[in-house]
């Protein structure tokens, strides 16, 4: 079936470096994409989102890039800090109809910050 997935289960970066987390999706009907951060024992926390009519969106220290041609999504975190250590999920919404808009999540990438 169609799904949203991530390329790497674990990403280790040095504190202060930039991090890039990738995500591939297969549902060409997906219209809305979100990145979530989940710390141990907590629920997912919204980071940034992007709609399919955009290819880039920037937030505070984060940038999301969307390449619809190859169905690829990435999250860039600038100047990674220890507090960025978490599991990062991409999620998508294809709005199948009837008001349904639950998110489809990928498996997650565990970002580890090395001191």
């Amino acid at each position: 079936g169609e799904s949203v997935g991530l390329h790497l289960p674990t990403l280790s970066v040095q504190e202060g470096d930039n991090s890039i987390i990738n995500c591939a999706y297969s549902n060409s009907a997906s219209d809305y994409f979100i990145w979530y951060k989940q710390e141990s024992g907590k629920g997912p926390q919204f980071i940034i989102d992007i709609r399919s009519n955009m290819d880039k969106r920037q937030g505070q220290r984060v940038t999301v890039l969307l390449n619809k041609t190859v169905k690829h999504l990435s999250l860039q975190i600038a100047a990674t800090q220890p507090g960025d250590s978490a599991v990062y999920f991409c999620a998508e919404n294809s709005y199948p109809g009837g008001g349904a808009d639950g998110l489809t999540f990928g498996k997650g990438t565990h970002l580890i910050i090395q001191p």
Partner: protein, 115 residues
């Protein structure tokens, strides 16, 4: 800052027993979601409510799972009887409306262990 509340935070139950989880969404949020997150994976949607009505329960195992939101505010998810494979984190989320226009806010989750 308003948050989604869930209880209990942890629950251990024996297989074949009944178990229930409670969620109180952010005040004013019309849409409520229940997700299940197996360890090491992304959340999977179980059911979506718009006010007191079920919008999407296509992924809810209806032979043992039930969900209700009788007054369109708080919600209960029940499993009866619980099976070993039900061990997971159960997450509740809420949004003002359709997630394409409104962010989904997640609660801290209920960690269920079935023995």
């Amino acid at each position: 800052e308003a948050e989604v509340a869930q209880s209990p935070r942890y629950k251990i139950t024996e297989k074949s027993q009944a178990v229930a989880f409670w969620c109180d969404p952010i005040s004013g949020h019309a849409t409520l979601y229940w997700y299940r997150q197996i360890l090491g994976q992304g959340p999977e949607l179980l059911v979506q409510f718009q006010d007191e009505s079920v919008v999407d329960d296509s992924q809810l195992p209806k032979d043992r799972f039930s969900a209700e939101r009788l007054k369109g505010v708080d919600s209960t998810l029940k499993i009866q009887p619980a099976e070993l494979g039900d061990s997971a984190m159960y997450l509740c989320a809420s949004s003002l409306g359709l997630a394409g226009n409104y962010e989904q806010y997640f609660g801290p989750g209920t960690r269920l262990t079935v023995t």
